[in-house]
Amino acid sequence: MASASLRSLTFGQKLLILAVLAFTIGPFAPLIIQSLAFRWAWPDLLPSVWWLEQRQISPFPLAWDYVLSPTSKVLEATVNTIGIGVAVSLLCLLICLPAARVLARANFRGKKRLEFFLSLPLLVPEAAIGIALLMIFTGLGLSGTYVGVIIVHLIPTVPYMVRMLTAVYQGLDQGFEDNARVLGANDWQVLTRVTLPMLMPGVLAGALFTFLVSTNLFLLTFFIGQGSIVTLPTLLFSQISGGAMGATAAGIALVASLPGLILLVLSDRLIREEAFALGIGE
């Protein structure tokens, strides 16, 4: 099936697919090579000395040996990044679901203005928010704590999530909920058996997006975490600042892209299954 449809594509379409692949997978190739290199100088197409050749004589753990050693703090950073990302996604959902319901269904004065205000945090530069919040959070004893970092991650994620969920809610016919009620379901049952399952693809997409934004935030994490909360972006930044990327930095960059990659694959599956189960697919 797949090969037949591939053959039916025109030359131009094939070229386009190739370009997309080159842009999405392309950047990973030099990263992978760099992470396996010991000395890689211009204009050599490949490293002149590889990590594995140097590994035996090196007085200290090189490249992946360093990335996988406890000194690199990669494990701690990965656990922190995923933990914070999950907490931020859940909290964000908790805040945005009721808000989106109201924005989608209710009509009140100043609604348009409120929607505008909700996206304001996206317009203010992170650095400006970060420095001001650092002073406030320090006073509250929240700087350098996980709670502080999670709260600050909500700032750039809530506006996106509200918009996304509002659109999803607007697409959900209130008739389904009314039907359930007529058939005797209580509010809790309506929410868990009807509303949430029907919203699931949108909720998943929103949560995924929030998670990805949270796992990539550097500046806010750095300001509020004060360097004592290590995440993959802060770790990566301390490795590549100065404009050069060595083997360990390349290795950490690859690890840093893993959570997002795994989640994308997982959610793609989940959303598709969910859609099939509801009979919307095909």
């Binding site: 004060q226 301390s238 100065g242 050069a244």
Partner: protein
């Protein structure tokens, strides 16, 4: 009546509670004043350090070999003394200085901060000291302070007593003594072609245009290069000497006269620097970018603080295999020290004292040289012969230059108050290409600083 009784009981409870916490250990301010007065026994400090348990050490974490040394050697050694070392790796020390100042500004005073000790020197130390954000004059009260020269009468003590011209007042402990060293790529530059003076360098660049770059000021590595140029072109021939004075002592006019020939040289070589022949001279932003240019043969020299820089570059693969050290600029290779300091609001100050004392020991300094490629900060002439041997043995190898040659060509750092002016002048004259007389530029920069 009943209510009164209740209040009475809670008051008793409260005082009992408060009593137990204060009886448990003296408070931070008391500990600080007693220790700084010199009336405290070291065993009391170590006991308190064990009660505190942890020390949060903030330091620049951009070097794998330094990180490994801290984790594999320093951490276990301090664990034996009952203190857990928590290394917090940062990108720029200035960020940590900002955090400390923000904490103090929002009322987090003595014992209420989050940073116990930090690796610092120059401008950052100056800022902390000026803002009264340092713990106090502790350095000469540590047991291992015997490894350092504190006697003002000995000129060699200056590196311990003065940090970029700011008196350390023993508020920071010397950790590592660095020297500004240039590496040369022997694949391109023969022994005869190797420049020893700035005139030699210019002659080399006329033959090989574009093959040199220095880090862009205000990065301290760029400032240091500019300073060595100014020393060498001092019209009075007194080298680094007048640059030890503060701006107030020296005066702006005098400074302008001293730096004029040096800036003329910097302007002359600009078209010969990296990108210069194409009409677009390029200054790397930091040492890793310069390392990369050097590795890729885009430049033939790499100047930075790194007495063992070539060794570190070779074992990490960041330098070309043909890299060697060179003596340049002869007689004007700036040497300075970096230090360990304790901020005023350190929550574990006793543990910080114990950790700094450990980092000042012969064993720790020897391991630091050997594993992290950082030069020792202690003064070898203060050591017993056996300890001197340990330090000499731990030293990483040199490539093409001997330690004695390095020692014979040192120059001191520039006073911190002048560094700001020189930096501002560089930005105006070189970056913006101003043609105003140096005297006017310096006067403007000085006026803007105030």
């Amino acid at each position: 009546m009943k209510n009164l009784k209740k209040i009475g009981w809670s008051a008793v409870l409260l005082t009992a509670l408060l009593g137990t916490t204060t009886a448990h250990a003296m408070d931070d301010a008391e500990f600080r004043s007693q220790f700084l007065s010199g009336s405290m026994d070291w065993s009391e400090v170590t006991k308190r350090a064990q009660d505190e348990g942890t020390v949060n050490f903030y330091y620049w974490g951009g070097s794998d070999i330094i990180n490994l040394w801290i984790d594999q050697v320093a951490k276990p050694a301090l664990a034996e003394e009952g203190v857990t070392l928590n290394p917090v790796r940062i990108t720029a020390t200035k960020d940590t200085v900002d955090v400390i100042l923000a904490q103090l500004a929002s009322g987090k005073g003595e014992g209420e901060g989050s940073v116990d000790m930090l690796w610092v020197n120059g401008e950052n130390f100056f800022t902390l000291k000026q803002q009264g954000a340092l713990w106090g004059s502790f350095a000469d009260k540590l047991p291992n302070s015997v490894n350092f020269e504190w006697d003002n009468a000995d000129p060699r003590a200056q590196l311990n007593l003065s940090d970029f011209g700011t008196a350390t007042d023993r508020m920071e402990m010397p950790w590592s003594g660095e020297q500004y060293v240039c590496a040369v790529d022997r694949a391109h530059v023969s022994q005869e072609e190797t420049p020893a003076t700035f005139e030699d360098l210019k002659a080399y660049l006329e033959q090989n245009p574009g093959k040199f770059a220095y880090v862009k000021p205000p990065h301290y590595l760029g400032n240091t290069f500019v300073q060595s140029v100014l020393y060498a072109h001092n019209p009075e021939g007194t080298g680094a000497e007048p640059f030890q004075l503060s701006l107030e002592e020296l005066g702006a006019d005098k400074l302008a006269a001293l730096i004029e020939p040096g800036f003329a040289y910097l302007k002359e070589i600009e078209p010969l620097l990296l990108g210069g022949p194409q009409g677009n001279p390029r200054y790397p932003e930091g040492p890793s970018e310069l390392d990369n240019l050097f590795l890729n043969s885009e430049v033939h020299f790499n100047c930075k603080f790194g007495l063992y820089g070539v060794y570190a570059g070779l074992i990490t693969g960041t330098y070309p295999e043909t890299a060697e050290e060179m003596i340049f600029p002869a007689g004007n290779m700036i040497k300075n020290k970096s230090y360990l300091a304790i901020p005023l609001n350190s929550p574990n100050s006793a543990a910080a004292l114990v950790a700094i004392n450990y980092f000042s020991s012969v064993a720790s300094q020897a391991a630091m040289m050997k594993q992290a490629g950082m030069p020792a900060g202690l003064d070898t002439w203060k050591l017993a012969e056996a300890d001197q041997a340990i330090i000499n043995e731990a030293a990483p190898p040199h490539y093409g230059v001997t330690q004695a040659e390095f020692d014979a060509n040192i120059a001191p750092d520039t006073n911190a108050s002048l560094v700001d002016v020189i930096e501002g002048t560089w930005l105006e004259v070189i970056e913006r290409g101003s043609d105003k007389p140096i005297k006017d530029v310096v006067a403007e920069v000085v006026a803007n600083l105030k």
